[in-house]
Amino acid sequence: MWYLCFFYHRLLDYRKAEVESLAQLFCSEDEVNDLQWRLPLHHHQDSPFHFVNLPSEDVATKIANRSILVKGMYELWGEGGNYEELEESIRNYPDERKLPYLESNSTFKINVDTFGKVISLVEQNQRIQGLNYIPFKGRVNLKSPDIKFWLMETDDYGANNGLPPIVEKRIFFGREIGGADRKLLPTYQLKSRTYLGPTAMDAEIAFLMANQALATPGKLVYDPFVGTGSILVAAAHHGAMTMGADIDIRVVRDGRGPDCNVWSNFKQYGLPMPIALLRADNNLPPWRSGLKEVFDAIICDPPYGVRAGGRKSGGRKLLKGVVSPYIVPDDKRTGHIPSTAAYSLVECVHDLLDLAARMLVMGGRLVFFYPVLREDDNADTHFPEHPCFNLIASSEQILSSRYSRVLLTMVKYSQYTEEVAEAARIKHIDFKENHLKWLEDGNLHSAVFSPADAQLSAAADAKATKEPKPKYRGKYV
């Protein structure tokens, strides 16, 4: 059955991926494979209106209610390019679908919504009056109606007014069957969070990540770069058991005092505490050797060196590049604070993929952010790959004119074998021996903050060959 899906006009790249992920939670395998998308007539990919084919209304309702970006999911009763076409379309919609929702013992409300324009209350009323060919028998109830109908209108635009190119006006009329609970976002907004770090994940993205990771009760979700726990809070909200590690002990153990730490961030919302927080290095994870396939999902925002650089253990030894290690004198062992070395993006992502391949259950998900320099966007962007994983979604969020980050969702589909483990071990040694080289190659920080001359000339070359970018904001929103 096709449903009309009206998205919030933001994070455009994340919208379909979210619905597809949530379908996984509420549908059978076959039903997920049957999921299809279709655009309304003359609409652009970036339009907030999409049609989605889902197995049942129940599933569509559950998906919409759990989502963050679905403004509303509707059973479409009619659509058209003008009000005459709309009327004809609604009249042709079968009575057996309409009449059960028009009965005299029900209450209803008709909402008018527009995209890209504003219409006055008087006009709204006129639009509603214009629907009098529909035999509404129920009573009107504006506060808590049983059934909500929506009349949605887009306008025709030129191509350059800052909005997606919806070339032709389109009007939809439908019955609401679900929509996102955006009240979550003010509840969990960062500005009311007691313990914050410089890179705490904002609530909307954290909830999107938890949805991509399919966080549900009984599942175990791990964040190897937990920081102040902002991503795990969203997973815990959906009932998942959480676990987190960080290399910075001040963050995980002390916070800013007894009522301002990672634990208090969970207590603040009445969420169950994480199963465990520990100080560990993602480069040398402390898991016992036989342990594998324990986590249902790994969600994280790796430190890729733009706002916060990654660190790993083995500082002074690697810095000097000497073979003989720095020896900690015996009398200074207790309370010794080991130095750390910078952790390159490439190595960090390698470690993350290896950890996920080993520690995720089959079908488990790895959801993480990966930085991309935007100069690359004419070439094909290469995302990290791993023989155990399938990339199922990549959603870009543009952060500046220079770089953006992409949320990658990967599913483990193949066992972590001896060969994979061995390849990872060799790579690990390679990283250790060529520490400085990898540090230079994998440093996004310098690319983002370096003088812009080189990039300007590169951009000029690119401009000559590239089509001018559309003026609407696209992925920026």
Binding site: A276, R279, P286, E293, G314, H336
Partner: protein, 122 residues
């Protein structure tokens, strides 16, 4: 730190081959009540090193877990409650985890194990 975490951790010092299970030095143990989640327990059970859990819970002053266990036990609610208590409700608040091979102490303070290695252990 819960015993579930203890059951997952080992000493990863360079050259150590047998870093599991870490010996617990308990200075302060607290109990915190957690809601029973049977699905989660059944999910975790096959991944637990049973012997390590039994001896760790003894060190923490809880001796109710049987030495040997069959998966069929998971149908008994009494067993599940004990398993739940040992796995999730006992916390090592202050103390240390000691590497069985080298004797290196990984301190646990405010419930957070510090598994970071020194420069010469990497």
């Amino acid at each position: 730190m819960r015993l579930l975490t203890h059951n997952m951790l080992s000493s990863n010092i360079k050259g150590v081959t047998n870093g599991f299970p870490l010996r617990i030095e308990a200075e302060k143990v607290v109990e915190k009540q957690v809601d029973l989640n049977i699905d989660f327990l059944k999910n975790m059970f096959p991944k637990i090193e049973w012997k390590a859990l039994v001896s760790a819970s003894r060190t923490m002053g809880y001796a109710e877990l049987p030495e040997e266990v069959e998966p069929s036990k998971l149908d008994s609610e009494e067993f599940l409650r004990k398993f739940h208590h040992a796995l999730l409700e006992l916390h090592l608040e202050e103390g240390a985890l000691v590497c069985p091979e080298t004797g290196r102490r990984f301190p646990v303070s405010k419930g957070i194990p510090n598994m970071l290695l020194h420069e010469d252990e990497v």
